[in-house]
């Protein structure tokens, strides 16, 4: 952890601030909700690294999605992700966000979360221990340092593809595309 190195703060203050002030929205979909409270309270104390839970998406810059994602939840996840101010980072927590995990042939869960919103990193396991969240945070620091945590840029660039994937699984979506791309314009015209 290089939080106390003054030279790095002078060189890249923005990057350092984004690294050490990760305000997280914990999207506990079902499993994983047990691992998060010990992480943020006295047992593991994530606040000493600047990782704090926030109540609303507007105040956050880290999105932690724990466990399987059902189709209904996906709608809420996409809305939450789109409400977060940029730059924003997403971490999938548990095998279910990677490939569906034990729910891979379920009728109402999605398999790859990365198809619908960009994921910057995954924590494998079913379920991972709370320590794994800290491992993920340190990896995320490295990614931010190397400008590789660029999920929000990918979302902007490939928004048409993401939106198409979202519509494939959700059908009609009740909010307009947030970025103006050619496909997005087409969708707006189609829906009048």
């Amino acid at each position: 952890m290089d939080r106390n190195q003054l030279m790095k703060w002078i060189k890249a203050p923005t990057k350092m601030a984004h690294k050490y002030s990760l305000n997280a929205v914990y999207f506990c979909t079902g499993c994983g909700v047990i691992e998060v409270p010990p992480t943020i309270t006295s047992r593991w104390d994530a606040e000493r690294f600047g990782v704090v839970p926030t109540a609303t998406a507007r105040q956050a810059n880290l999105f932690l999605i724990t466990g399987y994602v059902s189709v209904k939840t996906l709608r809420a996840i996409i809305r939450t992700y789109e409400q977060m101010p940029e730059p924003k980072y997403t971490v999938g927590f548990g095998s279910c966000t990677i490939n569906g995990g034990m729910y891979w042939d379920s009728y109402n869960t999605i398999n790859q979360l990365d198809k619908y919103i960009p994921i910057d990193g995954y924590i494998a396991g079913c379920m991972p221990r709370p320590e794994a969240i800290f491992v993920a945070v340190t990896h995320l620091w490295t990614l931010i340092d190397k400008d590789m945590a660029d999920g929000y840029k990918r979302y902007r660039k490939n928004y048409a593809a993401y939106r198409a994937n979202q519509e494939m699984i959700l059908g009609e979506m009740e909010w307009p595309p947030i970025f103006q791309t050619e496909v997005a314009t087409a969708i707006t015209e189609r829906e009048g």
């Binding site: 350092m16 109540a55 609303t56 105040q59 940029e86």
Partner: protein, 296 residues
């Protein structure tokens, strides 16, 4: 010298307010047997928030935050922070009473534009809570103004320096106790954390703030804490002859407020108002009657 204080006192309020925000997180962490974030964590947060892109919900959404922040800075100018107040000759306590309401009002104007139900609930709770603590607060201020025969904060501080501080003198001790009882409500900490209840109404009025708006709202929160504590130190604890002593006195009051914050759970809003209108109001009223009958 006064010109210098015009620049110095807002800067001091900003620095001390941010320090208090960091210290409160550290303080709570230590009480809960955690390590806690570094003291400069609010600075990191504010730097992060200023560099994020956020949406605006309209012109009033932008201006409300600025209004609230500006009014907080102006209230600071009325405070003698261990010296002379920059605006000591104009208005005094009466102006402070009015201007203190502009802070929550600005946030209310700004949040109303966002049309988020959590924000509306938070704002209504803030106004209800303000009605709750303004009644005893007005009685305390009235007792002080009657006792010392002045509306100027500077003169009250000077009068306390000649004799004992207000909280240690007989009829005003009631006002002092009443102020200590409403202090957590004025600071917005538990058990009166009904406004920004994160688990209940998604941090209330700040629910729609992201990026720079949240940074400004955080600074405003720090200033509100600074104003609430420095009013107590000035009016009831005799102020100070230099900023360092003033800051140390503020630290003691701050520690009291956050000890209460750590020890008590959150009240419901109607329980909070019932409490505020019972014990602090009663004690403040007794103090006011005593001051009016006995006098100096």
């Amino acid at each position: 010298m006064r010109i210098l204080w015009f620049v110095l006192s807002p800067l001091m309020a900003l620095a001390v307010g941010l320090f208090f925000l960091g210290l409160s997180r550290r303080f709570m962490a230590r009480i809960q047997w955690r390590v806690g974030p570094p003291l400069y964590q609010p600075l990191i947060d504010i730097l992060r928030q200023f560099t994020q892109k956020s949406v605006s919900h309209g012109p009033l959404f932008d201006l409300g935050v600025v209004l609230s922040l500006a009014s907080s800075f102006i209230v600071v100018l009325f405070m003698p922070l261990g010296g002379t107040a920059p605006l000591s000759s104009s208005g005094g306590l009466l102006a402070v009473l009015y201007l203190m309401l502009l802070g929550p009002l600005g946030i209310a104007l700004s949040g109303g534009e966002a049309a988020n139900p959590n924000v509306s609930i938070g704002i209504s709770r803030k106004l209800i809570l303000a009605v709750g603590y303004e009644v005893p607060f007005l009685m305390i201020v009235l007792a002080l103004m009657t006792y010392y025969g002045t509306i100027s904060i500077g003169e009250i501080v000077a009068a306390q320096r000649e004799s004992a501080s207000a909280i240690a003198s007989f009829p005003l001790v009631f006002s002092g106790i009443a102020y200590l009882l409403i202090l957590p409500a004025m600071l917005g900490v538990r058990p009166f954390e009904v406004v920004g209840a994160a688990q209940e109404i998604s941090s209330g009025p700040a629910a729609e703030y992201g990026g720079p708006y949240l940074a400004l709202a955080t600074i405003q929160h720090g200033l509100t804490m600074f104003i609430g504590i420095s009013l107590f130190v000035n009016l009831l604890w005799g102020g100070a002859s230099n900023p360092v002593v003033f800051f140390l006195k503020m630290l003691v009051v701050f520690a009291f407020g956050f000890w209460v914050n750590a020890a008590f759970p959150r009240l419901r809003v109607e329980q909070a108002v019932r409490y505020l209108w019972r014990w602090p109001t009663l004690i403040a009223f007794v103090g006011l009657i005593l001051v009016a009958t006995i006098g100096r």
